[in-house]
Symmetry: C2
Subunit: 455 residues, 2 copies
């Protein structure tokens, strides 16, 4: 008799090689030129699911495909676990600070360096390898398994919501588990119970109808790059809060008890400076760091572009300037409403000397997880067995827009069972995943599926 | 007997083809990858000078070469005219709004479209073709000619100053003429008597030591793109003046008489909106448009770059942000002093939550031309003959840094004999040169060389 955990341990080298194979496919969902790679990753994943005995369908969407696999061998009287993950990744240009090729995984100090190693190929794959360990060991799985992997999470799950709504029956389950978040520290597992939503916009400022000579026209034309900066500078107040009228209207106040709870997992200023490399902490006055990240909405500039940005000097007065701006939102805020507030405020403060436009790129709903669901207790037990330590509960600053859909459309408790670390560098250069976390994640996910039989 | 003007008219088609050949060489001085092209343009120009009988030397510098040609056949008792121009051009990326390949000249509605067609290959070449018309017609030239063409004007004449200082004797002349500016209108020639100087800088802001996930860190880190915008927004006052302390200290006030004179050549608001395409005029309160462009210093953002600027969305919190910033300066201002003032002000207003640095890229001195020199009268006569109309005097917003060097080092009167138009699109997309202006320019330059015999 080979147990699932014995199987998983014996297969560790294979599990690592397989993950590296998946990572080598540059499935960057936001780049149109990578569309073929995203499909290739979907097909690779589908083949791996079929190999372990799942029924698999690659579902086409107007964007990137959804991979859906199921194994219902436990029988209709047994609980069903819906596992969600994504096989698409953020862009990764070597010149943005990567020490090695982002799509050629390299192992250094026990960590696997590559785009997607943590977010989310590595974490999703830990779940799939747990499923494999149950299905291919002698034990088999005590629960039915539905595995949903999408290729558009990094572009705000553009078409997954429709799929979920249209497939309510098919996706019916007793609990949903997602490994696409971080734990507090290598020796301190944690369960995320709050996710921020997202409103992603582009701000365009147009001045003259074409680029002009800065000598011949400078001084008589409102420079659109300057005007863009003036608009962006007006989006925050000196105390770090957001100046857009109505921005905080729907934010639920934190209770004293919740603030006490959050305090337990806060960073010290020293930790924060070490993790981020900034010279001094910044943020909304009156809130701790963990509150700023997890419990308060933000407005960030993700990109700026105007005029000449190459080496050397070009004395151009640019015709236009552009900023990518995104807001992270907390429970009870509406992404669409926030877009409208920002759009209207920008329109109101744009001077008559330039033209401006705020375009909505995409949105994602914020989510809060019910800490009283029985499924949460199973997750606690799984971490205790897999990690040897009781997890704590934290609010996460990031967004997994589909969580709100699962809650609303499927009426499911959602467990955010992260295996990553804040320091993994998700979305930045030199993203990595601790290989020990990968293996512990597989163990913990096996325990969770076994525990889920009690539901 | 073929007169110089007859020669010039008979050669018009050839003069146009030759200019197109020179334009096809993409001699973009600021791009290191075009260094070979810049040299090729120098060699092409040197060959053309040799063909018409000049003694030519290609002078190497640590940057791009200087082409120096002379014809001293008029004899030591005759006046000498020093002609200056530049064969390097601004960058021109097709995707910045060009309708056609910037380095493949196209003729539309009597205009030659290509980078450098006006600034300065076209205007410089009009001077050289005037020299050719004198040397190769039966008349010969009544004055000695020294022709200095540099390949670094668009990067602030990095090495020309040294060459001028080291070659004071060799460059000795009675007058210097430069065709690298505009005239008021096609039917109204003008002579520029004031040029702005330049201080070109890069402002760098660094936040975290690497790009971060905007969800995991946004709200606890001062976003460097936002901080950059806040710094740039603080560089101007609400009345359009520059907020850098001391910026205007050395600016000479305009006399009432000068303001009256400037008023004669001012743009109407309607003209300005039509030329630039902006929705409303902007600028320093208390000054007319022509004063803002020609008589007041400015501070312009020439470029902005931070974070993700591709298609779609990337929720990155950028590690750094950069702006290209340049100041146009007026007579009596010191470019180095202005750099120091901007640098110190930025250092003073940079919050402790980010790090900033202002780097000086290059400088150029402002210049005022003495309107009482006898050479100015010759230029007036040349325009009257070439254009059939008396030129007016104007202040130009652009910079020709070497003018101050010629004045100081060689003690020469400098005549800015422009043939371009404000609407030529110098430094922007779809730069063009009216072919009629090219031919009239050649005629006028011939008249000037003939008039110069009277010096």
């Amino acid at each position: 008799m080979v147990s699932p955990h014995e199987y998983a341990r014996s297969q560790q080298p294979a599990f690592l090689e397989q993950l590296k194979e998946l990572i080598r496919i540059p499935s960057v969902s936001t780049n149109p030129e990578n569309a073929g790679d995203v499909r290739r990753a979907a097909e690779w994943l589908a083949a791996d699911m079929r190999r372990i005995g799942m029924d698999v369908e690659i579902v086409d969407t107007p964007g990137h495909p959804i991979v859906y696999g199921e194994w219902l061998g436990a029988g209709p009287d047994k609980p069903t676990v819906l596992i969600y993950g994504h096989y698409d990744v953020q862009p990764a240009e070597r010149e943005t600070g990567w020490d090695t090729d982002p799509f050629e995984p390299v192992i250094k100090d026990g960590k696997l360096y590559a785009r997607g190693s943590s977010d989310d190929k590595g974490q999703m794959f830990a779940q799939l390898k747990a499923v494999e360990s149950l299905l291919l060991s002698d034990a088999k799985s005590p629960v039915n398994i539905k595995f949903l992997a999408e290729g558009e999470e990094e572009v705000s799950s553009l078409h997954l919501g429709e799929f979920v709504t249209a497939n309510r029956e098919r996706l019916k389950a007793d609990v949903c588990v997602i490994s696409d978040s971080g734990i507090l520290a290598k020796d301190q597992p944690s369960i995320v119970y709050s996710l921020r939503g997202l409103t992603y916009m582009e701000l365009h400022v147009q001045g003259p109808d074409k680029d002009l000579h800065s000598g011949g026209f400078g001084g008589g034309v409102h420079n659109p790059a300057q005007a863009l900066c003036e608009l962006i500078a007006a989006l925050h107040n000196p105390d770090g809060s957001i100046a857009v009228p109505g921005f905080y209207d729907d934010v639920l106040p934190l209770s004293a008890q919740e603030r006490e709870e959050i305090k337990k997992t806060d960073w010290t200023e020293e930790e924060w400076l070490r993790i981020t490399g900034v010279p001094q902490v910044w943020g909304e006055a009156g809130y701790s760091l963990r509150e700023r990240i997890g419990a308060r909405p933000t407005l960030e500039v993700n990109g700026l572009l105007s005029g000449f940005t190459g080496e050397g000097a070009k004395t151009v007065l640019p015709a236009k300037a552009m900023a990518k701006i995104s807001c992270r939102l907390v429970a009870n805020q509406s992404p669409q409403r926030i877009y409208e507030l920002v759009r209207d405020y920008i329109a109101q403060i744009t001077p008559p000397t330039v033209r401006s436009e705020v375009r909505l790129l995409h949105t994602g709903e914020p989510a809060l997880v019910d800490l009283n669901s029985p499924a949460i207790q199973l997750a606690i037990t799984a971490y205790e067995k897999g990690w040897g330590k009781t997890p704590v509960f934290v609010r996460e600053g990031g967004s997994i827009p589909i969580v709100a859909d699962f809650q609303r459309e499927l009426g499911l408790p959602v467990i955010l069972m992260g295996f990553g670390l804040d320091t993994d560098g998700a979305h930045g250069p030199n993203e990595h995943f601790d290989i020990e976390m990968y293996y512990r994640g597989i163990d913990t996910a096996i325990y969770f599926l076994q525990e889920a039989a009690k539901l």
